[in-house]
Amino acid sequence: MSYKTDYGRVMGLGSAKDGTHHFWVQRLTAVALVILTPLFVLPLAYNIGDSFEAVRAAYSHPVNAIIASLFILTAFYHLKLGLQVVIEDYIHGKGTRTVAIVVMNLACALVGFTGLFAVAKIAFSA
């Protein structure tokens, strides 16, 4: 039995201390990706295998560059949220789990921001 008031329970946001934030952002990024995925992947499929000049010309176009940036940002954030749940389900032991989540977060940030930088560099230089 809990002696907490409703207000106290809300302020504490449960044992995870962030309430439904993770759940909500996972869905928010999912909805964004329903729109962004076809817009990003179909031109990508078309461009993979093309020449250096053709690829740079394609992604120097603002529409392609903006969609690619939005997709990379949203997809890697969605990936981070998903991989965190996988780690939480399968890796036990507080230390190992914390290290795994921190490393995974840093890796997602590294690859995601590298992708953003690369697209921006192509868009601004080609």
Partner: protein
């Protein structure tokens, strides 16, 4: 020992011979494709990075992605992405409270697989 039948009783569900419902297969596939798409994401970023760096470096990455092994990974990535996409839409409908009937879940399972295969073929035809 009162239990003379020990070792001879039926065990349920026997994990190794248990026939998975289609919905269970899709559930674990959603997780597997989602995790495996990390590799696809790294490859795509590598390709963009090469295009942002130099034509020599681009030739290296392009050579790998257009090899048979690179192509295989890209085709698997395309299916993984489209499956995760279709099954993700299924999850969003569930989040809104629709499609929970046993029949509906089975139908949407096959629908997700079918549409993901069609989208993969379209993607390969575009490439």
């Amino acid at each position: 020992m009162a239990d003379v039948n020990r070792g001879n009783r039926p065990l349920s569900p026997h994990a190794s011979i248990y026939r998975w419902p289609i919905s269970a297969i899709l559930s674990i596939l959603h997780r597997i494709t989602g995790s495996a798409l990390s590799v696809s994401g790294i490859l795509v970023v590598w390709w963009f990075l090469a295009a942002a760096t130099s034509s020599d470096y681009f030739a290296t990455v392009d050579g790998f992605l257009t090899s048979w092994f690179g192509g295989l990974i890209l085709i698997l990535s395309a299916w993984g992405l489209w499956f995760h996409f279709c099954n993700g839409i299924r999850h969003l409908f569930w989040d809104l409270g629709y499609g929970f009937g046993v029949e509906e879940v089975t139908q949407s399972s096959y629908l997700a697989i079918g549409i993901s295969v069609i989208l993969t073929i379209i993607t390969i035809l575009i490439a």
